[in-house]
């Protein structure tokens, strides 16, 4: 009667091992891909941009020098100019960008939706928004006019470009033409307006910018790409590392389960093997018998596991949708992970059976005559403890080295992995006292269940430890990778909240470095805007080219009082102070500019704007990368008291919740009527939010899989406990233990095993993710802000405990149902 259950359990444990490996590999690779896509979306590949502080063009001779720097992956010249595009009757304002489109793809994500790239000075490519507004198709001829040259030139459209991600924001309304031709139209032949640079991976962009800065003559500045530095490469590799660790650990956990199963299976049959030996079986024969059996298990288990692995992702996906109504992207069929499962299954099985088979074959024939089950070899705790402490010390040393030397990401990764291994090694040491402690608490409520359960856990110390270790590993990796990924996505969200404050932008022309030269908005525009329903708030922004203490800079004047906080990333200064200062007419200064002028909050600066000279107090320093970082910001009302800045260059519009679509449509119409550039940030917000939730949903999926592995470990161990202790249970039932008491004993056992693993597991997991973020902060220039997600951490703990107990139900019910006689009669 017991044999089929054991056979099934052995096969199932191999299947679960293989299946979970495949599922985790698939899910992690999909998550990684999705994070990649997300990053590509929110970060342009522009590491830095070289511009002149006053927005003027400069000679392109610099280019070879920049390109020869070893860390520079690529650098391309760009010429920007403002102009108009006419097609038929329609005229739109546009930004004319002279750039080599072949190379531009390294910097901005776009695809050619129709036609081809331009190849001669007479040809242009247009951004899809322009094409749709003008009704352009490939082959049409349009007229472009530069503001600098009063001559119209006819161009043929060879291709239409669609920009994706954040690039779509910057490039809306652009017309692309060869660099030389753009320079000619700007009357600046041989000159350019900026150089776009990308660095190689793992480049310290702060150092690199300084290096480039040394090459530049006076008047040129390096500005860093805002979005890409927000989400630096180490963050990505950090997520990759945690995903790899999670996959590895799930594999380890799976092997543990299989080893456990075989070990128990051998112990259970010790008597049988002994009888074989008495009957004349040789050691070899018994071992081979086990290997043959294992091969069968391996083949059948792996086969089932591949099925489980492939389908679990899909089933879970569907299940998640039903449960939470969140869209979880379907895990694509991933051949490598299936292959990994196919290889892993047999190898893990044979490796797992190796030791037990040797033990079994060495059974002395006389064991059969002994009635007592030989007790499990005593777990040697001391060597484990020593090894664990040594490993932790080593990891501590690595952390110190990393902190002092800031060597590389991998020192940190090795340090963290060894810390984790060290903790796993010392975990068994706390199991005994932990078991006593927990049971001493439950003893008052359930005395028998506690007393007997404690015995069972401690008598099978090896098995209990393995189970706890498996649960611990799964918990630590789940909680740490969960918190890490949520921190990363949280980072992205807060980047989104801080930088993309408006739903829509309306502007006469797209401002670049020379924003002060932006066209002005049509008159009476404010009144037109007010008539559009669904708008919550409008921030009118004015740009002006000014000097601060003699240094040329761009001043942005905004209606900051309309924001509840401040739509600025404050670097120095206290939020409420800065806000109050701004409302009183003080100025905030970009970090690059403040560095250049050596200004601190509280200092006063001389501001020369629109012909007026005024001394202004500095309220704070903000992170600001536009205009090469040579940027200052004032509040509109206060600034207007001093400087004649009445025009508006850009309208930043926030919509009421739920009104975004209709207000957007109305604004689009308005923009079309007035020939303005209309940008929808709502799309970007939506896109980014969607991708973030794609990543987090995938994360939930991984966590669910990991919980299943954990639950299976508990089922496995408890079922084996039940199988092994039928006799014991029979005796208990005969002397008056009720079914319910037996049931409770096993559920309580699962609770204790779960608690012993989950409590340290969630704590260590949370600690790990904090450590990850701290460590990466020292490695990378911009670490991620650590957030302990309480829902995830506490939720995982609670759910894990609940699931362990649920997993115990099956074996517990089985144990309760055992007819007492069946057990006693076994003799």
């Amino acid at each position: 009667m017991l044999r089929p259950v054991r056979t099934l359990l052995t096969m199932l444990s191999i299947a679960v091992a293989v299946g979970s490996l495949i599922a985790v590999l698939q899910a992690t690779s999909a998550t990684r891909k999705q994070l990649d896509v997300l990053h590509q979306t929110v970060s342009t590949n522009v590491s830095a941009e070289i511009v002149s502080a006053d927005g003027k063009e400069f000679p392109s001779e610099l280019l070879p020098g920049v390109m020869s720097l070893p860390q520079v992956r690529s650098a391309i010249p760009v010429v920007h100019l403002f102009g108009t595009v006419t097609f038929g009757e329609t005229l739109v304002r546009s930004v004319l960008t002279g750039v080599d489109l072949e190379q531009y793809g390294d910097f901005r994500a776009f695809k050619l939706t129709s036609g081809r790239l331009f190849s001669s000075p007479g040809e242009v490519c247009v951004e899809a928004g322009v094409a749709s507004r003008l009704g352009l198709v490939v082959g049409d001829k349009l007229t472009i006019r530069s503001r600098d040259v009063p001559i119209a030139s006819r161009k043929t459209v060879t291709g239409i470009l669609e920009f994706t991600g954040v690039a779509a924001l910057d490039e809306r309304g652009s017309v692309f033409l060869p660099v030389r031709e753009a320079a000619r139209l700007k009357r600046a032949t041989g000159k350019i307006t900026s150089i776009l640079v990308t660095y190689a991976d793992n480049t310290d962009s702060r150092q690199m910018s300084a290096k480039i800065e040394q090459l530049l003559p006076e008047g040129l500045a390096v500005s860093r790409g805002a979005s890409s530095s927000e989400l630096s490469r180490p963050t990505e590799s950090l997520v990759n590392v945690s995903l790899i660790v999670a996959a590895t650990l799930s594999m380890v956990a799976a092997v543990f389960i299989v080893v456990n199963t075989f070990q128990i299976s051998v112990r259970e049959r010790q008597r049988q093997f002994a009888l074989f030996r008495i009957a004349g079986a040789t050691v070899e024969q018994i071992r081979h018998c086990m290997y043959r059996e294992a091969i069968l298990f391996a083949v059948a288990g792996t086969f089932c596991g591949v099925g489980i692995g492939i389908f679990s992702g899909r089933i879970l996906t569907a299940g998640m949708y039903d449960l939470f109504h969140v869209e979880v992207p379907v895990i694509p069929f991933h051949f490598t992970s299936v292959l990994a499962g196919l290889i892993f299954g047999p190898i893990a099985t044979m490796a797992s059976v190796w030791v037990p088979a040797r033990v079994a074959s060495r059974v002395a024939p006389l064991t059969a005559a002994r009635s007592a089950v030989p007790s499990e070899g005593i777990f040697r705790l001391r060597p484990l403890l020593v090894a664990g402490v040594v490993t932790i010390l080593i990891s501590g040393l690595l952390f110190v080295i990393n902190e002092l030397e800031q060597t590389s990401v991998w020192t940190a990764v090795i340090a963290m992995t060894s810390l984790q291994i060290g903790l796993i090694l010392i975990l068994p040491v706390v199991i005994r006292p932990g078991t006593f402690l927990i049971y001493s608490l439950t003893e008052h409520v359930m005395p028998v269940e506690s007393q007997l359960g404690r015995r069972q856990i401690l008598d099978n110390f090896g098995r209990s430890s393995l189970t706890i270790v498996v649960l611990f590993i799964v918990t630590v990796s789940s909680v740490s990778i969960g918190n890490t990924i949520l921190s990363v996505t949280g980072d992205i969200e807060s980047w989104l909240d801080q930088t993309v404050t408006a739903d829509f932008l309306l502007r006469a022309s797209r401002p670049r470095i020379d924003m002060s030269q932006s066209d002005e908005m049509p008159e009476n525009f404010d009144a037109q805007l007010e008539s559009i329903p669904g708008i919550k708030m409008t921030d009118r922004v004015t740009f002006s080219l000014i000097t601060i203490n003699g240094q040329t800079a761009t001043l942005a004047v905004r209606e900051l009082e309309k924001y509840p906080g401040l739509p600025l990333v404050i670097q120095e200064g206290e939020m409420t102070e800065v806000r109050r200062g701004l409302l009183q007419g003080e100025i905030v200064i970009g970090s690059v500019l403040s560095g250049k002028l050596k200004i601190r909050p509280g200092d006063t600066v001389r501001v020369d704007a629109e012909g007026i000279n005024q001394v202004v107090r500095v309220a704070g320093i903000v992170q600001e990368y536009t205009a090469g970082g040579l940027m200052a910001i004032m509040n509109r009302e206060a600034a207007q008291k001093t400087f004649p800045l009445t025009q508006t260059h850009v309208y930043m519009i926030q919509c009421q919740d739920g009104k975004t679509t209709e207000a957007g449509e109305a604004l689009r119409d308005l923009a079309r009527r007035e020939g303005l550039i209309f940008q929808s940030l709502a799309d970007v917000r939506h896109l980014v939010r969607q991708m973030v939730s794609g990543v987090t949903n995938r994360l939930w999926l991984i966590l669910v899989i990991s919980l299943f592995i954990a639950a299976f470990a508990v089922i496995n161990t408890l079922t084996m406990n039940v199988l092994e202790q039928t006799r014991y249970l029979g005796v208990l039932r005969t002397i008056g233990m009720t079914r319910f008491q037996v049931f409770r004993m096993f559920v309580l056992q699962a609770f204790v095993l779960g608690l012993l693993a989950l409590l340290p597991g969630t704590m260590v997991g949370a600690m790990m993710s904090a450590l990850i973020s701290v460590t990466f902060r020292s490695v990378a220039e911009h670490g991620i802000a650590f957030r302990l997600d309480t829902l995830l951490t506490v939720g995982y703990f609670g759910l894990g405990l609940l699931l362990s107990m649920l997993a115990a139900m099956l074996p517990a019910i089985r144990a309760g149902r055992l007819p007492p006689l069946e057990a006693i009669r076994q003799e």
Binding site: P447, Q451, R455, R733, T738, F740
Partner: protein
């Protein structure tokens, strides 16, 4: 229906029970229309060749197995219709089991084995410990309280098992070949213990045995053969039982 029996004097009342096992499609009549009553404080020995249903009878008395037909009353109440919990509680509070192979829990100490049924019943540890001491004193094992049972000799182990059966203050002890694993000296000790227990305490002992000396001490002897009662009477006054037994053994 004959229900006039004074249930206060009869601790066991077995009426026409039969038990048929079906194993691999083959029917085995382990018990066939067995009827008897056991008054309080009696020591009843059951003998019979192997496979005649002695253990089955004992199991049915303990509510571990249900008869195919017939009725059993323990302490005046019928077993039929009792739920599993009720049967378990009956075993826990009224019946002490003693098996041939002791069935002690190897991981618990002697005293923990003995307190087990009390703790199962929710009695405080302290009180349970006191009762266990008392029970172990009766079987003369006070000096081995904290030992693991595996360190004890067979006879000592069986005395621990008896203490475990006694500790609940049962009205009925069901012993299945308790001396089967012991040498004759130890076996004699155990039998003597049962005998004096039945005398001194308000206790009924039903003991299945192969040992004629055990049967000789008993107040009454039932010989089973092929699932039927072949003899029911005093073990010494009448020696028919020997013939009954021997014919069974020899054929």
């Amino acid at each position: 229906m004959d229900t006039s029996i004074d249930s206060r004097t009869e601790i066991v009342d077995v009426r026409h029970i039969s038990k048929t096992f079906v194993f691999d499609g083959v029917e085995v009549n382990a018990l066939d229309d067995v009827t008897f009553r056991v008054p309080r404080r009696q020591m009843l020995a059951i003998m019979g060749p192997s496979g005649t249903g002695k253990s089955t009878l004992l199991h049915i008395l303990g509510g571990l197995e249900l008869p195919t037909s017939g009725e059993i009353f323990i302490d005046g109440s019928p077993l039929s219709g009792l739920s599993d919990v009720e049967l378990t509680l009956m075993r826990r509070r009224k019946i002490g089991f003693v098996f041939q192979s002791f069935n002690l829990l190897p991981s618990l100490s002697v005293v923990d084995n003995v307190t087990l049924p009390l703790i199962l019943d929710g009695i405080s540890r302290h009180e349970a410990f006191e009762k266990a001491r008392e029970a172990l004193r009766q079987v003369d094992l006070l000096h081995r309280l904290q030992h693991p049972p595996t360190r004890l000799s067979g006879g000592e182990q069986q005395r621990v098992a008896i203490a475990r059966a006694l500790v609940i203050g049962p009205s009925l002890i069901l012993a299945d070949e308790p001396t089967g694993n012991l040498d004759s000296v130890r076996g004699g000790d155990i039998t003597g213990l049962f005998h004096s227990l039945a005398r001194e305490k308000d206790l009924t002992v039903v003991i299945v045995t192969h040992d004629i000396r055990v049967a000789a001490i008993a107040d009454r002897l039932i010989v089973l053969r092929d699932g039927r009662i072949a003899y029911d009477g005093h073990p010494v006054a009448d020696t028919d039982w020997l013939a009954a037994l021997q014919s069974g053994v020899l054929t």
